[in-house]
Amino acid sequence: MADNHSEEHHHEEQHIGIPGYLVVFGILVVGTILTYTVALNDLDSILFHGANTLVALLIAFIKMSCVMLFFMHVRWSPRLVWLSAVGSFFWLAIMFAFTMQDYFTRGSGVFGG
């Protein structure tokens, strides 16, 4: 009984091991350096207005995904954890979108009107 019990659910490795952790760490460091390098170049005038911010957020989003999936083990977590993680960003997006659709449609002026 005792043996069965403990073997029941610590059989599979629920992480990527030390080499995997080091790879994720490497991605995070490269991402940080890339963020800084990109920020020194004026992408706004090369590409389009807001490109600098967009690229910075894109890199931050990739870094965040790496941390969540591998350091926080979401990759091996139950569906309910996936739902919580994705759901929180969904609600965040609603907060941003509804707030900004208000501010962007108030006409001219410091806060419109």
């Binding site: 403990s6 029941e8 931050a60 965040m64 926080m72 139950p78 954890v81 707030t99």
Partner: protein, 297 residues
């Protein structure tokens, strides 16, 4: 813990609480609870990110000007320090699952050292802002008395977009927020990308020119947001360090094993979350206006 065997007459994993069927159910319940906490933390910081979004979209040049004044080297170093601490935290969980006490203790201590380093750098940064008169609360900045014969509070006669790179000894007897440089707004005006909202926000309605005081007030909004967001983040780091101290004590007593390691895993989730917040704060606060000044523009 050993009494479990006696009362039930059958085997119990040492970390299993009575209300759960087995370790798997207990671990899932624990991690759902922790994730619910993290979801509300995301919404909590999300409110501040919304404030940032609203004001930055209104006054992008004031935000860029304020951002360019931050110490980007320290911000960059702190980002790396936090990423390393996330790695040591992830490895702590790894060794807790293996039941390796010594590696756990070493890695928790390393995580705490990196966390403390982050806070130390933050203190140096806050001190710089205090010396430069950039704390947005009147009276909380370094008070500099007027020297004899000088009129105090006298603004320089030059317009605020000239002499931006001169080091001038400001006079600040009341500890007020100090900002004299509006060259970035002037640059945007010259190159024609000052938005209509910004014109209302920065211009003196009488003269139709950029007004140093009006621009300063918009930069002040940026520094409010900077202190609120990094301050709240630093508070989370302090809580994280307290959590780590407790974890260190438990690990020292060899509490964690392949069967019972959820406290380490959950503290790790919290630590990584705080790291993720900084991953967004660094580009949004430190780097947003760098491209305007990077090549001597």
């Amino acid at each position: 813990m050993a009494t479990h065997v006696d009362t039930h007459g059958e085997y119990h994993p040492p970390g299993l609480q009575h209300q759960f069927e087995d370790m798997k159910q207990q671990e899932e319940s624990v991690s759902i609870g922790m994730w619910m906490f993290l979801v509300q933390e995301i919404m909590f910081f999300g409110g501040l990110f919304t404030v940032y979004l609203v004001f930055r979209s209104r006054f992008p040049m004031a935000f860029a000007a304020g951002s360019n004044h931050l110490n980007v080297v320290m911000g960059f170093a702190n980002t790396l320090v936090l990423i390393v601490s996330s790695l040591t935290m992830a490895l702590t969980v790894y060794y807790a699952q293996k039941g390796n006490r010594n590696m756990q203790v070493i890695l928790i201590i390393l995580t705490m050292i990196f966390g403390a380093t982050f806070l130390g750098v933050k203190v140096v940064e806050y001190k710089e802002k205090y010396d430069d008169g950039l704390v947005p609360v009147t009276g909380l900045n370094r008070k500099v008395k007027a020297s004899a014969g000088e009129e105090h509070g006298e603004e320089p006669a030059k317009p605020c977009w000239e002499g931006a790179h001169e080091e001038h000894e400001y006079i600040n007897p009341k500890g007020e927020f100090q900002w004299h440089d509006c060259s970035l707004a002037k640059k945007a005006e010259n190159e024609g990308f000052l938005t209509p909202t910004e014109k209302i926000g920065y211009y003196n309605p009488a003269s139709g020119q950029i007004d140093a005081n009006k621009f300063r007030d918009k930069v002040r909004i940026y520094f409010w947001i900077y202190f609120a967001m990094t301050g709240l983040h630093a508070l989370h780091m302090i809580v994280g360090l307290i959590l780590m101290s407790w974890l260190l004590y438990k690990a020292w007593k060899n509490t964690f094993s392949a069967e019972y390691y959820m406290p380490v895993e959950m503290s790790g989730l919290y630590w990584h979350f705080v790291d993720i917040v900084w991953i967004f704060l660094f580009p949004l606060l430190y780097l947003l206006g760098r491209h305007f000044i990077a090549h001597g523009g």
